[in-house]
């Protein structure tokens, strides 16, 4: 085993060295030959009196306005390439002799300027086109109260949105390039002196060790670096709100932003954070706590309601309250399907509706929702395929699963309902109990960046309950969560927070 690994490592090193040698061998001519293979690469020669300049760029990557306004008019006064930085009104100019630097930067939207007679020095002028979406309203995590900015597809804009909320030098953004083909810029954000060093190293190590060809979104990073990739539960929070990222970072968490992704990632996290909407922090603590509890109830209801219906109707008729027997029996009497099939048909119908609604354009999607919800539901009850009691239960369970503020977790909730259903049919309540045990065991074993996922329940940490199932007032939140193992545990002076600072009359 070990020998084989060593040999593989050796092979890799040899390959790398070979590549390096290749790069060295590369001449400007062979580079142009390669680049000319693409039609959007332009190379033009400008014969001036003193010298002949050559200009090369990707017409699709650069902003032609910059080229015409800030580069061309100045070039005729150029005496040598080395004086480019002083001549052009652009601050990002690279002078290099390295062909590989030339190639990389051309592909980033730089314009190459060089003297045809002097192939030893190349000037690279930044002239990339900056076409990104405007910062707009958050659509996935909309909130009534609080900031209404959301991330866009540009990493710089996104970091700007976070940094303006944390204008301190300790706030660090470490940039990495990931993806052999996509060369995606990935930023790791944290506050030096607050975030746990081990957590920072874990994130950076996992990111740098990634050997992947193409990263197009942050959700791919989640899947690639999370602790257990086979778990249906996401182990990093996915958010489009810069205020959420800023708060998480200030709390000692670590955020990951990916160029081209309008979502950032937060870790380490716990399962309870997935059920807290960020609006919870903008509402009064009583109201926020109530809404949180409602959401937890909704999750339990969403997972357990249909399985319990199936279990009770298939095995445990004794449990039905005497006043409900008539309702249930009448609604079931005309239905030819056993409870499990009835439930599966309806659950799948709801999933179809959701999927159809998600894939279709907004306007058509709404119609589908109405048509599906009202027409199919009533029709299937009238046709005697499903009972109306179950229709209500399934619809409520689906609705409850949509209350989860993090979209990815909502999907998980809808998925794990199906094993519960099957077990409910197979063994009744015992089946539901066994499924629940498996779920609990899985959650107990799960970690997020090596930190327990079910904290503060397991391991029990009383202090962290202040912001888990309920959210206590800010005056009691003077310490950062134990979960994060922060270097600096205090957010503010807790004793001072409890005093009323108003002057006495």
């Amino acid at each position: 085993m070990r020998l084989r690994r060593q040999r593989r490592r050796l092979n890799k090193r040899i390959e790398k060295e070979k590549e390096k040698e290749k790069e060295k061998d590369e001449s400007i001519e062979s580079l142009f030959q390669q680049l000319n293979g693409s039609n959007d690469f332009t190379l033009s020669t400008l014969p001036y009196e003193e010298h002949t300049l050559s200009i090369g760029y990707y017409s699709t990557l650069i902003d032609s306005e910059i080229l015409h306004r800030d580069i061309f008019p100045f070039l005729k006064d150029l005496d040598a390439i080395s004086s480019l930085p002083t001549l052009l009104p652009i601050e990002e100019i690279i002078l290099t002799t390295d062909i590989s630097v030339v190639r990389d930067n051309l592909l980033k939207g730089y314009t190459l300027i060089f003297d045809v007679n002097n192939l030893n020095l190349f000037g690279l002028v930044k002239s990339d086109v900056d076409k990104t979406r405007q910062v707009s309203l958050p659509e996935v995590e909309f909130s009534v109260v609080g900031p209404k900015e959301s991330f866009v597809e540009s990493l710089d804009t996104n970091i700007n949105l976070v940094r303006k909320r944390l204008p301190i030098p300790e706030f660090v953004s470490k940039e990495l390039i990931i993806g052999k083909l996509s060369k995606t810029r990935v930023s790791v954000l944290y506050i030096q002196g607050v975030a746990n060093e081990e957590n920072i190293h874990t994130v950076i190590q996992r990111l740098t060790d990634l050997d992947f060809d193409q990263i197009t979104d942050s959700s791919m990073i989640t899947q690639l670096i999370q602790d257990n990739q086979n778990s249906p539960f996401p182990q990093l929070i996915d958010t489009e709100r810069p205020d959420r990222i800023a708060t998480a970072v200030a709390e000692g968490k670590i955020a990951i932003l990916v160029d081209g992704a309008p979502h950032g990632l937060i870790g380490p996290t716990t399962i309870f954070e997935f059920f807290s909407a960020f609006e919870d922090y903008y509402l009064n603590w009583l109201v926020a706590s109530f809404f949180r509890l409602v959401r937890f109830f909704a999750v339990l209801f969403s997972i357990l309601a249909t399985p319990i219906y199936v279990a009770v109707l298939t095995y445990h008729y004794e449990l039905i309250p005497k006043d409900m027997v008539a309702t249930l029996v009448t609604s079931r009497s005309a239905i030819p399907l056993p409870p499990i099939l009835e439930a599966l048909v309806l659950e799948l119908a709801i999933e179809l509706l959701r999927e159809a609604g998600a894939r279709l354009p907004t306007k058509v999607g709404q119609t589908i929702g109405i048509v599906g919800g009202i027409v199919i539901g009533t029709a299937s009850v009238e046709a005697g395929l499903t009972s109306n009691v179950l229709l209500i239960i399934v619809a409520l369970a689906a609705l409850a699963s949509f209350t989860t503020p993090v979209y990815q977790m909502g999907n998980t909730i809808r998925l794990i309902r199906f094993p519960f259903l099957l077990m409910a049919h197979y063994m009744g309540f015992i089946g539901v109990a066994i499924s629940f045990c498996y779920l609990l065991i899985h959650l107990l074993k799960l970690t997020s960046l090596g930190r327990p996922f079910l904290e503060p329940f397991y391991p029990p940490r009383v202090q962290d309950f202040k912001d888990a199932l309920i959210r206590l007032p800010y005056s009691l939140q003077s310490k950062r969560p134990i979960q994060e193992q922060t270097e600096d545990t205090m957010r503010f002076n807790g004793d001072k927070a409890k005093k009323k600072a108003d002057p006495k009359k």
């Binding site: 009770v312 109707l313 298939t314 095995y315 008729y317 004794e318 039905i320 005497k322 006043d323 027997v325 008539a326 249930l328 029996v329 009448t330 079931r332 009497s333 005309a334 239905i335 056993p338 409870p339 197979y426 063994m427 009744g428 015992i430 066994i434 074993k445």
Partner: protein, 360 residues
């Protein structure tokens, strides 16, 4: 790797286990949910079992249907009932079981055995004695309702509003097995398509020996419950002077000076009541005080008579023996049985009319 093995092994272990559980599917619309059962001895000593099950119609109305058969054992009867039914008869939703008067006089413990054993039957189901034929009572239709639920609601409602003392399978069995206390059950009677609670059946062990009439319910409840409330009581004070009082709260305690001797046992009853109806004009303070005295005397007299009746029959539904037992070391039930009929038991009632309504 090891976690996958663990998962594999645990799934492997749990799946065949279900083979041992013998869990049968009982889909709710594929079973005959019996909601009440009636038992009586037929002349040849066999048990005649009548069960009623609701037939839910698509227009939400309920038609009650009954099945009757005779057998030696009640579960055997159920198997025979299955022969008449299109769906398997199950007993998990039984709410009430009824026993014919004469059957109850012979003892009902044999019938209770199956209720005790069957895990699908809860201990909170109601038992009742029928003055008449349970088969006839169960085969009638009482409004648009399932008969079992109707009867169970009838009993439950009267317990909750304080007309009759709390009773169910659990209570019956507790009082049956306990020393020094005898069970009671409500007595039902069907007349002209209506069911009425006509009395409280008194049991010696599991044998019915008599019943309390409607007028005695209030006094019985007052003496039975350590802390009680609700329930109203109408008293005829004289020819055209009636009063109805409502129990706000009552308390009862035993004063047993020398347990297990012939010495007197005093039952102190403290009744706080309100006047809910009075037929002789305005109530003032003097009148109220007089009324309190009259009611007290009536209640004491009623109680004494009731207890005397119990002592004559040798039964103890009030649990006096239980009270004595709790005050005695080395309790001897045989000795108590000998002592009980001749004991001097005195009831002392204290009536407090707290309110007399809003009449000005």
């Amino acid at each position: 790797m090891d976690s996958r093995m663990m998962l594999f092994v645990s799934v492997l272990v749990t799946l065949p286990l279900t083979g041992c559980m013998h869990i049968e599917q009982e889909v709710i619309d594929e079973i005959q949910l019996t909601t009440a059962g009636g038992y009586e001895y037929s002349e040849d000593g066999m048990i005649e079992v009548t069960t009623v099950y609701p037939n839910y119609q698509p227009d939400k109305s309920v038609i009650n249907e009954t099945l009757t058969d005779t057998a030696k054992l009640s579960k055997e009867a159920r198997d025979r009932l299955n022969l008449q039914s299109d769906k398997p008869v199950v007993s998990g939703k039984v709410e009430v079981t009824l026993y014919e008067w004469k059957t109850a006089e012979k003892g009902i413990f044999d019938f209770l055995d199956t209720l005790e054993r069957d895990p699908s039957i809860g201990s909170s189901i109601y038992l009742g004695v029928v003055d008449g034929s349970p088969k006839e009572l169960l085969s009638k239709q009482y409004g648009n309702q399932d008969n079992g639920i109707y009867l169970s609601n009838l009993i439950e409602q009267n317990i909750e509003t304080g007309q009759i003392p709390k009773t169910n399978l659990h209570q019956f069995l507790y009082k049956f097995y306990a020393d020094g206390i005898d069970p009671t059950l409500p007595v039902l009677k069907q007349e002209d398509g209506k069911v009425k609670l006509t009395g409280i059946g008194l049991f010696a062990e599991d044998k019915l020996v008599g019943q309390l009439e409607e007028e005695q319910f209030f006094t019985f409840k007052l003496l039975l419950e350590r802390k009680g409330q609700k329930g109203s009581y109408s008293i005829k004070l004289n020819e055209d002077n009636d009063i109805s009082i409502y129990n706000i709260s009552s308390g009862r305690n035993f004063d047993i000076q020398k347990p297990m001797t012939n010495s007197e046992i005093i039952i102190n009853v403290n009744l706080k009541a309100t006047v809910s109806e009075y037929q002789d004009g305005i109530l003032n303070k003097q009148k109220t005080t007089r009324l309190e005295k009259e009611i007290k005397e009536l209640l004491e007299q009623d109680s004494q008579e009731m207890i005397q009746q119990f002592q004559e029959k040798g039964i103890d539904p009030l649990g006096i023996g239980d009270q004595v037992r709790s005050r005695t070391r080395n309790w001897d039930p045989k000795k108590w049985k000998e002592l009980y009929p001749d004991l001097q038991i005195t009831v002392k009632v204290n009536v407090d009319l707290l309110e007399s309504g809003v009449i000005e």
